[in-house]
């Protein structure tokens, strides 16, 4: 068994409107930062997990598909780092 640190990034699919992102985009321009073309909010989940190297991808994808993300509205990607 090895230790892994996994970072999962979850984003709303491009076809799903992100009203909170729009609100922050508007606040950003009020701060005086011009030129922002698009701003969308996602989530990042950090997981430390003990696993066999051959199972780790399968476990993370199960978590992403069934719990971390709702694939009707969200896409995900992840990076796995062996500690």
């Amino acid at each position: 068994m090895d230790q892994f640190e996994v970072k999962v990034f979850i984003r709303l699919r491009p076809s799903v409107l992100d009203p909170a992102g729009e609100a922050i985009k508007s606040a950003s321009s009020k701060l005086g930062v011009a030129g922002i073309k698009s701003l969308r909010i996602g989530k990042m989940i950090e997981v430390k997990i003990q696993s066999n190297e051959e199972d780790i991808k399968e476990k993370i994808e199960l978590l992403c598909d069934r719990l971390f993300a709702n694939t009707v509205i969200e896409d995900y990607e992840y990076s796995i780092n062996k500690l």
């Binding site: 076809s15 799903v16 409107l17 009203p19 909170a20 719990l67 971390f68 709702n70 009707v72 509205i73």
Partner: protein, 221 residues
């Protein structure tokens, strides 16, 4: 129908469970039973309501964690048996997260938590959840949600439309829902999910009785 019992599921964070019980027992004289989400025995109830609220504090996504409760696990067989399930507000979110109904509920377009009475058109008669009305008639029910914008892709929308699964549409879209959708049913018609709260419209003294019919239809076999 005296022995008919409606089960009302209670998750940590449910807050409309007692309203549903009040409406069913007090206004319609229908027996109810609270079902803690950890129970998986659904044998002594004839239909089920997933009430509104904030199950598990809406952590991760609304309804995402409730989906893993033992009760929801048992609900698959309950639905297959043809018995009726009504998901109101957070209950609708749980039904989509659990895959009983297609699509998802996301943050309202204007980001406001909307608490208002809305006019709704009854679209389908599938499942007999609503009184048949002519095209010009509509019903009025309260909504109270921050994440009630129904979202689905074009293929799902076509399927919902072609198979007559859209139950309710907002007359004036308050939250940006795809195709003004406020509620949908499954193909069989025995599962209904909707964002408006029928249990809050069961007594004239609190503003209307347009929710009575839907709650009463829980005892249709």
């Amino acid at each position: 129908m005296a022995s008919f019992t409606v089960g009302i599921v209670v998750f940590p964070g449910s807050n409309c469970d007692r309203d549903v019980s009040w409406a069913l027992e007090g206004c319609l004289d229908i027996k109810t039973k609270f079902l803690w989400h950890e129970s998986s025995d659904l044998n002594d109830v004839d239909s089920i309501v997933l009430p509104g609220g904030f199950s598990y504090g809406d952590y991760l996504r609304c309804g995402a964690i409730a989906r893993f409760s033992p009760l929801i696990n048992s609900l698959h067989d309950f639905v297959k048996s043809g018995r009726r399930v009504l998901g109101i507000c957070n209950g609708f979110q749980i039904l989509t997260e659990s895959g009983f109904l297609p699509g998802a509920l996301v943050a309202n377009k204007n980001l406001n938590f909307i608490c208002d009475d809305v006019e709704l058109n009854v679209i389908t008669s599938k499942g007999g959840w609503f009184q048949k009305l002519n095209e010009k008639q509509n019903i009025k029910l309260p909504i109270a949600h921050g994440e009630g914008r129904y979202h689905c892709d074009q293929d799902t929308l076509k399927k919902l439309t072609d198979n007559d699964l859209i139950a309710l549409k907002y007359k004036t879209n308050p939250n940006g829902s795809t195709s003004d959708i406020a509620g949908i049913t499954n193909e069989k018609g025995n599962v209904l999910g909707l964002m408006p709260h029928p249990e809050r419209a069961c007594d004239e003294s609190i503003g209307g009785i347009d929710g009575l019919y839907t709650l009463k239809s829980l005892i249709t076999q």
